[in-house]
Symmetry: C2
Subunit: 305 residues, 2 copies
């Protein structure tokens, strides 16, 4: 459904702007919920922009996933691949992208009905994986992720047309208030903050380590924080948070001894597949934004044996 | 009370060590409390290493102090003085040292019975100011302070003989769980963790911006955190936390829009005045560690008019 003018254009004007969201937040009908979420949960997601479920996965499921990550991190030569993003300074692995292809175990995790059917219900359609990754925030030295709306980047750099995607973050270690948990500004998903500055070519090579473009301005952030406050869904390993593609979120650093490791799946509606990025910039590589690798997902229970 | 061997020697051995604390934590008798703190509060401080009081100061008192800081920060040439420490990178003022001399208003704050008499009671003697400062952790860009025991530095770099000092931090903005609040490891004050590495000459010029020496090792930190957990006393502006000189503490960065500004007074017992620093290193300057400027403090009510 192309629009005559790009309502979500960003990084083109000299001043930032807070614009109205043009798309629904939930694509299911709370009067007749069609999936695992109740009417109340749907309405809460619509209002706040996120939902949190404690211990959606069992301890042994989490243990198997952590063991798999240890294997990936210690296999020789793997960390030279573009999917492996390292911390500036320490060189520690910060993220592994396209984790659902790097590991069949994570590939099964994203198909598990406990997460996939929530995404299908929220988006009111079949879905595919736009992006997946694991984020490591190691103890003592973990760095912050500054505030951002994922959709701003996906729209500008990947050509995602509309707001019809949901992120699911599965916690693989306890997320506490002290080890740099995901912070969300409730209600922020109902507005769209345009950013300032032109996107440089091959921006992703830097932006995955340190953001400089697609960064919302301080004044807009202050305004939406005054309106909505800040919340941090925290809980034991195996919990999951679902959040709207346009929810403003970020996280502080982590000097505690406790590492914070989360798997992250972005489900996009099959009716919202990528077009060309704005301004004629080159599309980002497949491991960051799925194009050719498109695959509609069918639910299949994840089992850790 | 000099000891034959320096039990608190640090930065001399090749491996870190967790040693026993040789000094009392409270110098008052909980059976007959002699000051504003109750027996329960004394015992809690003894066990946890800190006490927190919500809203010890009134809104208009806090407003006057904040206005004073604005004056100090914007007076031309002031920020060129050694007392003014700037952030690496942004150049924003991170701390103002010897704030009780930079500003008579803060000089009165530290003499107020609400704080001074707590220090006198905990230390069981008259007291003087070993160090004072204001720490600014600005919104969006505030950086972390890594874990440390103040006493380790004061003993090694300033020649403070024994553990008989207490820090008081008065919050001048709300301290929330999200804007990089002080984090303390309860019970950590009962052990002494020696650090590794020799102190370079004039170390303070760097250490006030970024710590490299006097940094506890990861393994010891993990052990004491497993034992004590992590707590963060948070509350509205005008609250105060008192914590033992040897309590392990630190704080994460601050990407929220909310600045975190705290005034910080270190009360030392007059019976615990500084000697020579270990290893023949040159004493740090007066604005960081009081020697000549020694002055026993008498209570006088702070009034903001």
């Amino acid at each position: 459904m192309p629009v005559a003018q790009d309502h979500y254009a960003s990084r083109v004007e000299e001043k930032p702007e807070i614009r109205r969201r043009m798309d629904p937040v939930i694509y299911d009908d709370p009067a007749r919920p069609n999936g695992p979420l109740s009417a109340d949960e749907l309405r809460r997601y619509e209002r706040k922009g996120y939902l949190f479920f404690e211990k959606l996965f069992k301890e042994r499921e989490v243990a198997a996933l952590l063991k798999e990550l240890e294997r990936l991190k210690t296999t020789p030569d793997r960390r030279e691949r573009p999917e492996y993003i390292t911390e500036p300074g320490s060189g520690a692995v910060r993220s592994i992208f396209r984790i659902h292809r790097e590991s069949s175990l994570f590939g099964r995790l994203m198909r598990d009905p406990r997460v996939l059917n929530v995404a299908r219900q929220l988006l009111g359609s079949e879905v595919y994986i736009h992006q997946s990754r694991v984020n490591f925030k190691p103890g003592f030295v973990g760095k912050e992720f500054y505030w951002h709306s994922d959709f701003e980047t996906w729209h500008v750099e990947d050509g995602m047309p509309r707001m019809r995607a949901v992120s699911c973050s599965v916690t693989l270690t306890p997320n506490t208030l002290f080890n740099g948990p995901l912070m969300i500004i409730p209600g922020s998903h109902t507005a769209y903050i345009t950013c300032v500055g032109t996107t440089p070519e091959d921006h992703y090579k830097q932006s995955l380590k340190k953001q400089e473009y697609g960064v919302p301005d301080a004044e807009s952030l202050s305004r939406i924080t005054e309106a909505g406050g800040i919340e941090a869904p925290v809980g034991p390993a195996g919990s999951a948070v679902f959040f709207d593609c346009n929810a403003m979120h970020g996280s502080n650093g982590n000097i505690t001894p406790l590492p914070r490791t989360n798997a992250f799946f972005v489900y996009n509606s099959v009716e919202n597949r990528l077009g060309d990025p704005a301004g004629g910039i080159r599309p980002r590589p497949e491991f960051i934004a799925t194009r050719e690798g498109f695959e509609q997902l069918s639910p299949a229970p994840f089992r850790a044996d």
